[in-house]
Each structure stands twice: as C-alpha cells, then as structure tokens.
C-alpha cells in the first residue's frame, strides 16, 4: 500500500471542494472495495476524503411517492428498510444477494454503484489490464474469461460490472443525484452513470472528477411483480455469473456487460405480447461470446424467462 493522507469531510460541499483541489484525491465510504484495491496497489490514491459519516444516510419518502436513498446509507439499512421491502422488493433481494452481512453493513449505496470489476486479471497486478494500466493490453481477452461480458464488450476490455444492487436500480428507473466540484447539484438516470469500455475501460462512469454522489432516487414502484435472480457458483458470498432484475415491465441484466444492462429489446418484445422466452431471445440476438463464456447466453435466456414468469406469478 502506498502512503496516503486522510481527511474526514465536514460536509458535502467541503468534500467536493477538497476533491477538486487535492491531487490524487478519492472519496472513501465503506472502504470495502477501495481499501482492498489499495492494498494490492491497483488503486493508488494520494489522499482519501471520508464521506462515510456525512449526513447522507437517510432513506426518505419523496413527494411523488418514491424513495430517496442517501448515498452513504448502508446496504444493510436499505435492504432491511420496510418501505424498500414492501415497495421495491427487487432492490432488497438484489442487495442481500451480494457479499456477506459484514460487507453489507459497511458497504454504501454510492460505493456499491462504483465498485470495480472482479476480473481476475484486473486483480493480479502481474498481468496486463487496460483498465488498471491503460494501454497494457487485456489479459482476460485470450485468457480464462468464463465471466466475460456478452453485451457491449470491446477488444480493450471484456469485464463485467458486478454490482447486484445496481441491476435492480436500473430496472427501477432510479436517478442518481450528485454534487459537482463547482457545487452544482444535478440528477440523471442511473443508466447514464456507467459507461461501456470502448477504448477507455479505465473510465467507468460519466461522473466528472471530484463529483460526489449524494443520493439515489427511486420513482414510485412500477405496476406488476418484481423479482431478482442471481446465478452463482456457491449459495452465498460469491459474485454472480449472471443476474436478472424484473420490475413490472422493466428488465435489467447483471454481470453481462461493463455496466448494468437494461434489456430494452426484451422489454419491447414483452410489451408487444412476446412470450418471456421469445423476449429473451430477442435481447440475446445482440449478444456475443468467445468460448469460455458461451454458456452465459443460454443461461441468461433461461434465467430471464424464468424470472419474468416468477415476477408475473408474484404479481397475481
């Protein structure tokens, strides 16, 4: 680990100010991802701004009948919130499908969204990785890449986004609220938060440097059933091979792309009366795989169809 300096931000404005003025500064919330990466020298911030104790942990009703999740609310608090469980069960299910109770107690809403990929070559600093060292090559491309993306990958990076929570938030049409370094509050659809890898896989979001996530806002729950299904090698405490979030007519897929994947083609097919299997086939027409991750295409087809069926059952 490289030496670094640390400050506890007094308020959100001070946090973004410091972030924009201090070279090599990063926010830290629960630290469950960032600290691991720092120990391995995958991340090398020179300065940490702790936002974990800012008064942004509230979960509050919004006037439109939705819910606002403070950026530093713990994953445990969100998953256990009775309003979340009652109105957004897909979100609660997605969160508890991730990590372990200990991790969820520390992990925050914003930190979870911004967690970095679990690609094994990204984690091994002795291997090339364009995400870690731009221009060094992609170790996974010709490597052991069972978990590689099937949508939107590039020759520079085939990694997937591994957050469970984010998949549910995408299906729920959540909005991200931020504070920019100049002190402006802004808000945008969560689908616009993450990027596809393209030639620049080290750039993962559309946040500007020093921009702080302050909350995630949920619109009122959509009509219809909700469910989250995650496939993994063991029953708990494992990253997913694929996941599906269904919220009414909305469908999002996890661990299939560099970002949580909104299955718009499948949604359109369902809306025009296609069966769940037909809808998934429509979506997967745009998928591509490369050997070891071939299984993901039939897996997502089957999982998606099953999850849509389950959500419909649940709604009845």
């Amino acid at each position: 680990m490289r030496p670094f300096t640390y400050e506890r931000a007094a308020d959100a404005r001070a946090a973004v100010k410091s972030a924009s003025e201090t070279p090599g500064a990063r926010f830290i919330a629960g630290g469950t991802n960032l600290l691991d990466l720092m120990k391995l020298e995958i991340e090398r911030p020179q300065h940490l701004i702790d936002v974990g104790r800012l008064p942004m942990a509230e979960i509050e009703d919004t006037p439109d009948g939705g819910l606002r999740l403070g950026a530093v609310a713990s994953n445990t608090a969100v998953a256990a919130d009775s309003r979340v469980r009652g109105r957004y069960p897909v979100l609660s299910q997605a969160i508890v499908a991730g990590g372990s109770p200990q991790l969820r107690n520390k992990a925050t809403v914003a930190g979870n969204l911004l967690q970095r990929t679990r690609c094994a070559y990204f984690y091994d600093t002795s291997k090339p990785c364009n995400k870690r060292e731009p221009g060094s090559g992609c170790g996974a491309l010709e490597g052991l890449n069972r978990n590689a993306a099937i949508f939107g990958a590039s020759h520079a990076c085939i990694a997937t986004h591994t957050s469970d929570m984010a998949v549910a938030l995408v299906a729920l049409d959540a909005r991200v609220e931020t504070l920019t370094p100049s002190g402006q509050a802004r808000s945008f659809p969560i689908l616009e938060l993450h990027r596809l890898p393209g030639e620049t896989p080290h750039l993962e979001t559309h946040l500007v440097p020093g921009e702080l996530i302050t909350a995630v806002a949920l619109p009122p729950p959509p009509p219809g059933g909700q469910t989250y299904r995650k496939v993994r090698d063991r029953a708990s405490y494992a990253g997913g091979l694929a996941s599906v979030a269904v919220a009414g007519g909305a469908l999002a897929l996890g661990m299939v792309a560099h970002k949580p994947w909104r299955a718009v083609d499948a949604e359109a097919a369902l809306a025009s009366g296609a069966s769940p299997s037909e809808a998934m086939a429509r979506e997967l027409a745009g998928a591509s795989s490369a050997g070891r991750n071939d299984f993901k295409i039939p897996l997502v087809a089957r999982l998606g169809a099953a999850a849509i069926g389950e959500a419909r059952e649940g709604a009845r």
Binding site: S100, D124, L144, D233, R234, R302
Partner: protein, 755 residues
C-alpha cells in the same frame, strides 16, 4: 521383536474408568482461540520490536533473472534490507545435510537466478513497518529472460512417465478379465489443482540469542524436520535452533514443510540483529506453497451381470514441479476397496513449470474416489442394481490386493446403517424424477476408505507438587484437537480431572513426535502419551509404596489405582498432590514411546465410511445446492466425539467443495494460477452446507495401536465429493466427469440432455 500382540493387555485408555475417552470434551485451547488470545507465529511477542519482511514473487514461470534494480526500494522509507539472489547471505546448497541424521536438508531462499515457477520468491524486503516493507516491495525491479512455460497438463499427458521407483501393480490378468466381462465401463475423470487455503497463511517470526542460537516461531505440521532444515540452512547446530509452532491455523498437508518465510526471517534476524516477521499473503500462498496437483483418471470396470467385478483398473496421470517427484497416488486406495480377481493400478507423472505439488488432506483418496466411486454409480445403473448393493456384492473377505486379513472392516455396516438412517430407500433409480419447487432433487452415495498409520514417537509426562500433570511432546495441533485428546489421555491415565492437566506441544525441545499428517497424528502422539502416562503411573505407584509416610506404604505397586486425583490401594488412599508434595516435592518426570509393531504389516488396516447426499439442481441455471449429507464411519475407538465429528464433517465439506466449486485454473500463457484470493477460489460457506451429520460406529482396532484408535482427519474427505456428484446425476441425469461441477458445465449438459 515388537508385535501387535504386545498391545493386547489392559491399559487405562481401554479401561476408561473415568469415561473421559470418547467424551465430546471441549477444546483445550478453545477459549484462547475464540478470544483471539492464542498467539499464532506472527503474533508471538518477540523480546524487542520486530522488523517486517515481505517477499516478492517471480512474474515468469521459467527462465532466469537477468537484471536486478533495488535502488528505489532501498531508498524507500523505513527499508532495512533488500535481498535478491545477488546479495542474500550465503546458504548451503539445497538439500545439504551437515548432520547426517537430520530429518530435512537445507532449504536456501533466493538461491539462484533460476526461476522454476510463477510466484517463486525472488526478492525480499525488510522494513521497520509492514506498510513500508510492502510499499518498497512493489519497487523492486527484476528483469527476466523468460522461457515459454511448459504448464499445459492436458497437452502433456502423452509425455507422462512412471513416478521414480514405481511400476504399475497388476493382480491376475486385467486385460483378459476386462475384455471377458459382459458389462464394461471405461471412462475418464479429471480434477483440477487445489490449494490448501488454510485460514492462517504461512508465517514466521525469528530472533537470535547471541550469534549462535536462533529462536523461531512458525506455522508447521512437523516440528523436527522444520528445526533440522532451518539449522542446515543457517549452517548451525541443530540444537542451536529452538523452533516453536504452538498454534496453527490449519495445515491440511500444506504445512508439512517450511517455506522461505522461515528461512528469510531467520537470515534477516541474524543480519539485522533484531527479530523479523515474515508472512505469505493469501495470493502468495497460491503459488508459493504446495498444491494438490490436477489429475486425469481412467477407470475401467468389468463385471458379471450380477454385479460381481471381474476386473478393476484405475490409472492416474498427474503432475509435479520440474525438479520434483511428488506423485498424487490417486489409484492406491482402490487396491483395498473392492474384490475383483483381475486388477491394475498405477500412476503417470508429468513434470511441469508449475509450483510444487504436494500432499493435501487425504492425498490420493480425495482425488481417486472422485473417479472410482462415480464409476461404481454408473456401473450400478448399467446393471440395474442399487449402488449400495453393488458395493456389498463386491465386499472382499481379505485385502483383495495382497490377501492380508483386515484388522477391522465395517464398510458394509457403514453402508447399511447409513442407507437406513438417510432414507436411501426413497431414492428413485431413474434420474430427474423428483421436483421440489424450482429444484430437481437427487440422492447419491459413495464409499470411503483411508489408510491408517502408526509412526515412532516419544512423550514425557510430569507430575508436580500440586498434582498437576504436564504432557510434553514435540507434536502439533493444526486445529484437529491434538491438545484436547492428549489432555484426555493424560487425565484418564493418571485419574485426574482435565483441569489438572497441562499440555505443551509444538516445540523442538520437547520429546519428538512426527507431527500432524496422513491422519496418523492422534494414534501416534496419543500412543506415545499413553506409554508415558503408564510409566508415570508406575513411578508414582512405586513412590507411594516405598514412602513410609504414605498410607500405601509396603503395598503392591502394581495394584495401585488412580482415580479422582487420588492414589489408592484397597481401602488405603491419599491424594496425588499430598503424595508428590511429601515424597517428591521437585516432581517426577518420565518418558514413554511408541514404535510401530514389526508384524503390523500382516494386516490390512484402514478406516472406512459411507457417504449419503441429497442435492438440488436448478435445471434452468445449472446451480447445485447440497441439501443434506450423512457420513457413517468406522475408524477404531473414538477419543473425543466432538473433535472427531468436526474432523469428519470438515472432510465431508471439503468433498462438497471438490465436487462443486474448488479448483485453481492455470493460464498457460503465463504459467500462473489465475484465481488467487478467496473471492475467486471458492470453498463452501455456511449457506452451501445444509443438514450435515457424521456418525461413528463402535469399533476397536487392536491391530492399529495400543489404544485401538485410528485416524479420522482425512477419512471424511474420501468419497464425499463422489456422493455429491452421484446425487447431481440422480437429480438431473447429467454426468460430469470434469470437476468441479459448476453451473456453466452442468448447464451445457442439461441443454444437451434436452432439459
């Protein structure tokens, strides 16, 4: 000449007057461990503040180091030393034994510019803090001339050779028996590399007392070879190394030897004149210590239509390090398991530029049962026989390989009782018939076998003026319960409460014992302890009858009894404490020892079991979840029902991992293992293990050792994974012979089967 018949006399363990033998006594060291106060090697307080060493691993799998640049690391804050092969202190060449009776030769670290596996320690940084050492370790620049790594096991199977000094073992005429059988099976299974992933990575702390005496704390299963190897490496007298390994956070065979952490800690402590700590990181453990090698196993079975085997063969291909010869003997267990007149077993070895292969819990059986015990399941299906019945029909009367009588063999009882307790009769022979919600449910079973061993060992027993019994032995407890069973043997033998026993182990200055491994630990260490305890009884009895102040004075020392802290002769008695305090205030110390009986080889001595497993398979996703599991075992007298059960259930869980999740993948481009942390190297978590039970049958094996006990540490692992795999097949009708059975593979099978 010593004989197993010498053991055929009463002893305190057999008599078990206080009932302590077999009782599920809590762990002797449990409170220390659960309160975090048991000092593991890295946590021992040295006499002065330590420096921290960090190793740097090679980033090629084969080749040479051509250049070294340590300037930046040396200039980094707090750095005290940076070593590579160019400037490491001189050490004798590998394997040197200055003392001919050393149990291990020298193990020099950073010994040359040659790299023979990815992750091999090639540089070493010591600094005032761990953080400074880690930071500087990233600044060491090494330049390599790399050779193309030769690591592709499957591609190299054709080049495999006989392991050194080994030939195939054939009984009868296998080929003729196989070809002449009306029902035949010929299938191949493969298992991946596995790592021990002990909870405690290897770690060492060393300091010197003057220029000639090295004090070392490390985490190792065998004390003497660790001490001797370190002394040989340091070029000092063996007695000049005081090596301790008091608490060990798991070994599983991976700590059957020491690694460069120990060598470098001791060398650096000498060079810097202060204590030095060195630990492997989790990632470094994967490459830098031994692993269970991958196997390819071809099983051929030839049977009559009634299920009787005519011919049985298991041939194993495996790999080891380019300089090594370790062989995963995955075929050996089959030699004693089933009757068949024509038998062929053997091994082939491929040397690769991979890290060192070595023993891991149930070496041989763990991999081997994953093939043969599934082959038996397949054969049973072909024959239309119940898998339990097929095994019973092939139950031998004597060891089928060498005709020796079994010392004890209760395999059939394990199978039958297990089947009954588990509800095996509810299994539908046709797969894919049972549904529970989204799950297809299936049952599977497998037999378990694991050898039993007894090695030479010594032990000392003391009694002090407080009547406290102290057991001293150069034994180890790798989390298995050694402390506890030694305390039980001592308490039972001397008739004192457990609270009056102190156990000191894990120290090279104590009477030597071979340590923990091969499930020989409790039998070996315990038998020596029993011998020492019996000798102390004699010494105390003699003391009493010869002491005019004792109420026992003048009696027959052989008739003195020991119970509840009291020594008695008929109606005369006094407390042990009063006796020792008066008659031997400085206390008494005696030694005892155990040696293997010279005629023990006349019997085939094994431990046995039967596993039963119920799994759910999600046919949509290929996910497998274990719902319940039962093991029934016959392994001699059980010393402690609780620690034995933990060993057995731990082994069963290991089998679940082997079947479903565990394995290291090799990237052949680098010669490197790719999954290096516990988020990517998957062993079961709580949620993966449903209802789990291990039952131990009553048994005493009087050919095994004076206590009639046998090992349980590895038995639970043998066969467990096969039971899981067989249950997967019964659930969904897909046979996968390439472990682990992960969702991607199972899904492909389900789709191919039209599910």
């Amino acid at each position: 000449m010593s004989s197993v018949s010498d053991w055929d006399v009463p002893n305190p363990v057999k008599e078990n007057r206080s009932g302590l033998i077999g009782k599920g006594v809590d762990r002797y060291e449990g409170p220390l461990k659960v309160t975090g106060t048991a000092p593991y090697a890295y946590e021992v307080q040295p006499p002065s503040p330590p420096a921290y060493g960090v190793m740097v691993g090679a980033t090629i799998a084969a080749g040479r180091i051509t250049d070294v640049d340590t300037a930046a690391a040396e200039a980094s804050p707090g750095v005290l030393a940076v070593w590579t092969h160019r400037n490491v202190p001189a050490q004798p060449p590998r394997g040197t034994k200055a003392h001919p009776r050393s149990t291990a030769g020298s193990k020099p670290a950073l010994e040359s510019d040659r790299v023979t596996y990815w992750g091999q320690p090639v540089a070493f940084v010591v600094a005032d803090t761990l953080e400074n050492a880690v930071a500087a370790s990233h600044m060491v620049q090494l330049t390599y001339a790399a050779d193309a790594p030769d690591v592709d096991f499957q591609a190299r199977l054709g080049d495999a050779v006989d392991p050194p000094g080994e030939k195939d073992v054939e009984v009868g005429d296998f080929q003729a028996g196989f070809e002449g059988s009306p029902v035949r099976l010929d299938e191949t299974w493969s298992t991946p590399i596995q790592n021990h992933v002990q909870m405690e990575p290897c770690a060492s702390l060393a300091w010197w007392e003057g220029p000639d005496r090295c004090i070392a704390h490390t985490s190792v299963q065998m004390v003497k070879p660790a001490q001797h190897g370190l002394a040989e490496t340091l070029g000092i007298d063996r007695d000049a190394v005081h090596l301790m390994t008091r608490y060990i956070g798991g070994g599983f065979g991976g700590k059957g030897q020491t690694y460069d952490d120990l060598t470098l800690a001791a060398l650096a402590a000498r060079a810097l004149g202060r204590p030095v700590k060195v630990a492997f990181t989790r990632q470094q453990m994967m490459h830098g210590t031994i692993h269970r090698p991958a196997t390819v196993m071809r099983v051929r079975l030839g049977a009559e239509r009634d299920g009787r085997l005519n011919a049985m063969s298991i041939m194993t291909w495996t790999h080891c390090h380019s300089d090594g010869s370790f062989t995963e003997h995955a075929s050996n267990f089959a030699r004693s398991l089933y009757a068949a007149p024509n038998r062929l077993t053997g091994h082939r070895l491929v040397r690769l530029d991979l890290p060192h292969a070595g023993p891991m819990r149930a070496p041989g059986e763990a991999s081997g049962t994953l093939s043969l015990e599934c082959a038996m399941d397949e054969l049973a299906e072909t024959l239309g026989l119940d898998p339990v019945e097929l095994r019973i029909r092939n139950e031998p009367e004597v060891d089928p390989e060498n005709g020796r009588p079994f010392s004890q063999r209760q395999l059939v009882r394990c199978l039958k009782e297990g089947a009954q307790l588990f509800g095996w009769d509810r299994r539908l022979p046709t797969p894919g018939q049972v549904r529970d919600g989204r799950w297809l449910v299936g049952l599977g079973m497998a037999a378990a076998i694991r050898g039993n061993f007894l090695l030479p060992a010594k032990c000392s027993f003391s009694v002090d003026a407080d009547g406290v019994i102290t057991v001293r032995q150069g034994m180890t407890d790798i989390g298995t319960g050694t402390y506890t069973v030694l305390a039980q043997i001592a308490a039972e033998t001397l008739g004192v409460p457990l609270g009056q026993v102190v156990v000191e182990i894990g120290d090279s200055e104590l009477p030597p014992a071979p340590g923990s491994g091969g499930q020989f630990g409790a039998a070996t260490a315990g038998s020596a302890a029993l011998a020492a305890g019996v000798n102390l009884r004699k010494a105390i009895a003699d003391l009493a009858v010869n002491d005019p102040g004792s109420p026992l004075h003048g009696g027959d020392s052989a008739s003195v009894t020991f119970q509840d802290g009291v020594v008695a002769l008929e109606n005369r008695s006094e407390t042990l404490r009063d006796l020792v305090r008066r008659a031997a205030p400085a206390g008494l110390t005696v030694e005892g020892e155990i040696r293997p009986a010279q005629d023990a080889q006349r019997w085939s001595t094994q431990t046995y079991g039967a596993h039963f497993c119920e799994v759910g398979v999600d046919p949509v996703t290929g996910e497998v979840r274990v719902r319940r599991m039962l093991g029934v075992f016959a392994a001699g007298r059980i010393l402690n029902a609780k620690t034995a059960r933990s060993q057995l259930t731990g082994g069963m869980i290991w089998g679940v991992a082997s079947a479903l999740t565990e394995g290291n993948a090799v990237d052949p481009r680098y010669g490197s293992l790719i999954n290096q942390d516990l988020a990517q190297y998957l062993v079961p978590v709580q949620a993966d293990i449903g209802d789990l039970e291990a039952i131990m049958l009553d048994e005493v094996d009087d050919k095994a050792n004076p206590m009639g006990i046998k090992g349980v540490g590895e038995l639970g692992n043998s066969g467990a994974g096969a039971a899981v795999a067989n249950a997967v097949y019964n659930a969904c009708g897909v046979r996968l012979r390439d472990y682990p059975i992960t969702p991607d593979k199972l899904l492909a099978g389900l789709i191919a089967a039209g599910r």
